[in-house]
């Protein structure tokens, strides 16, 4: 307790990290438990609060707990551009993927290959996100409008060109086009060591049955 604390002392560092990583404000009782008790908590909180005073982030008391919050005076500048992340519906995802792979595609064609008619909100959501736009009209009776993806679509998905969308063979190789249950589930909830060798793992089963098409070495 008599040790001299500063912003780079171990307990203060830990306190800072705990408050940073926590989704909720953390009560002093909880903090004390995590810091193993041997710390002058009020003093550590004080050091932390002073270090952040006047900065872009502040240490604040929220109810009975402590938390970091961005400085209120900056809020206006930050919140002026506030956005939320929205989910895209299943139909939206499918529609987007079909437009991406089959563009330019008319609404009629889209409905025909999906086998359902397009509900109003589906295309709107994609339009609003700026991921699709109308393309050229088709030179067929009725001159229907086609739909194509935009540069913003490429940007969002870090693709340099449409050409870099994985083809069917790639999808299949990646396991995304396979009816068969996967033999190898490469990721699963961790229980022990991350590199713990795993008997269920697909690639190491005896290679008797051809798993996937193999391209010769190129």
């Amino acid at each position: 307790m008599t040790e001299s604390l500063d912003i780079r002392s171990e307990p203060v560092r830990l306190l800072e990290a705990i408050l940073f990583a926590s989704a909720e404000p953390v009560s002093e009782a909880e903090l004390r438990a995590k810091l193993d008790g041997e710390v002058d908590l009020p003093r550590a909180l004080d050091i932390l609060a002073s270090a952040y005073a006047g900065r872009g982030v502040e240490l604040v008391k929220v109810g009975k707990g402590w938390a970091f919050r961005t400085a209120p005076d900056l809020g206006r500048r930050l919140r002026g551009t506030e956005t939320q992340l929205k989910k895209l519906s299943r139909a939206g995802l499918e529609t987007l993927s079909i437009i991406a792979y089959h563009q330019p595609i008319t609404r009629g064609e889209l409905e025909e290959i999906r086998g359902v008619s397009l509900s109003k909100g589906t295309l709107d959501a994609l339009l609003e996100a700026g991921w699709v736009r109308p393309g050229r009209r088709r030179h067929t009776p009725g001159r229907p409008l086609t739909w194509v993806t935009t540069d913003a679509f490429l940007d969002h998905f870090a693709l340099e060109s449409l050409d870099d969308l994985p083809g069917l063979a790639d999808l299949k190789a990646a396991g995304l086009l396979d009816r068969r249950p996967g033999l190898g589930i490469a990721m699963r909830a961790e229980d022990t060591d991350p590199l713990d060798e795993d008997p269920d793992e697909g690639d190491i089963l005896p290679p008797l049955d051809g798993e996937d098409g193999v391209e010769g070495p190129s």
């Binding site: 970091f68 929205k86 499918e94």
Partner: protein, 266 residues
């Protein structure tokens, strides 16, 4: 579990009793189920020879592998084709290494082939080591943590859709699977063929001097009504053929009356 010198058993959880094992020489044991393929086997054999793969004897390695394959075959263990392809390749390399180089040959020399194999093993080994180092790094969510209570005011435009490329590709994969047309399957129909009826009827008619109802020649116990009706039709057609061939006579006294049939008298 039987460990050869430095040959690790890859998966401890596996039941040792059920793993096909191949003994190479006196002390080496390979558990077939533990390997990902011939390269993996070679890498294990190589690591057993020496820690530094750059200094192993490729010839000795090839010999060990060939012993491994022969042993597996002797024990009737089923080896995938690629293990045998590798064996053929190694045998070829061995012959190239041991025999004098033929003159003016476009083929790679034995030394070149050996160097390729060595490189392949070194590279894969290096990648495995790199993977271990990578996984031991501080990892997000285990050693390093992000802000637990992010305050959302990112990006400048309006709504941002929370969609990853994986989601799009997965959606397309699922769509493709769903829309993939099931191949049309035509099931073999169980019908009584005219050929079968002819074969049945010919010897029976040969002994039938009296007029006899055609129905009495039908096989019994067919069960399935469709099969029974097809048998009637087939036997009728067959009887007409026998008449045409001059073997039988057929008669019917009127509409819907029973069909009578007998051997054509000589």
């Amino acid at each position: 579990m039987s460990k050869g010198p430095a040959l690790e058993t890859p998966f401890e959880e596996d039941n040792p009793d059920r793993i096909p094992q191949v003994h190479i020489g006196a002390q080496l044991v390979l558990d077939l189920d533990g390997f990902e393929g011939p390269i993996d086997v070679l890498l294990s054999l190589a690591r057993d020879q020496k820690v530094d793969i750059a200094k192993i004897s490729i010839l000795e390695l090839a010999e060990q592998y060939l012993v491994f394959v022969r042993e597996a075959q002797r024990l009737n263990l089923e080896l995938a084709a690629d293990y045998l392809v590798m064996a053929a390749w190694l045998a070829f390399m061995k012959s190239r290494l041991l025999l004098p180089e033929p003159e003016s040959d476009d083929q790679p020399t034995g030394a070149e082939l050996a160097a390729r194999l060595q490189f392949q093993l070194q590279r894969l080994d290096a990648m495995r080591e790199a993977g271990k180092k990578l996984i031991d790094r501080p990892r997000l969510g285990r050693d390093v943590f992000v802000r637990g209570a992010p305050e959302e005011f990112r990006a400048e435009t309006t709504a941002v859709l929370d969609v990853k490329l994986f989601d799009v590709l997965k959606a397309y994969g699922e769509f493709k699977l769903r829309s993939e047309k099931e191949p049309l399957k035509i099931f073999a129909t169980r019908l009584y063929s005219v050929e079968a009826a002819l074969e049945r009827l010919r010897p029976l008619i040969g002994e039938t001097v009296e007029w006899t109802q055609l129905e009495s020649f039908l096989p019994q116990g067919l069960g399935d009504p469709v099969l029974t009706r097809s048998a009637i039709a087939a036997h009728f057609t067959a009887s007409l053929e026998l008449v045409r061939d001059g073997i039988a006579e057929i008669s019917q006294s009127g509409q819907y009356q029973p069909l009578l049939i007998r051997k054509k008298p000589r």
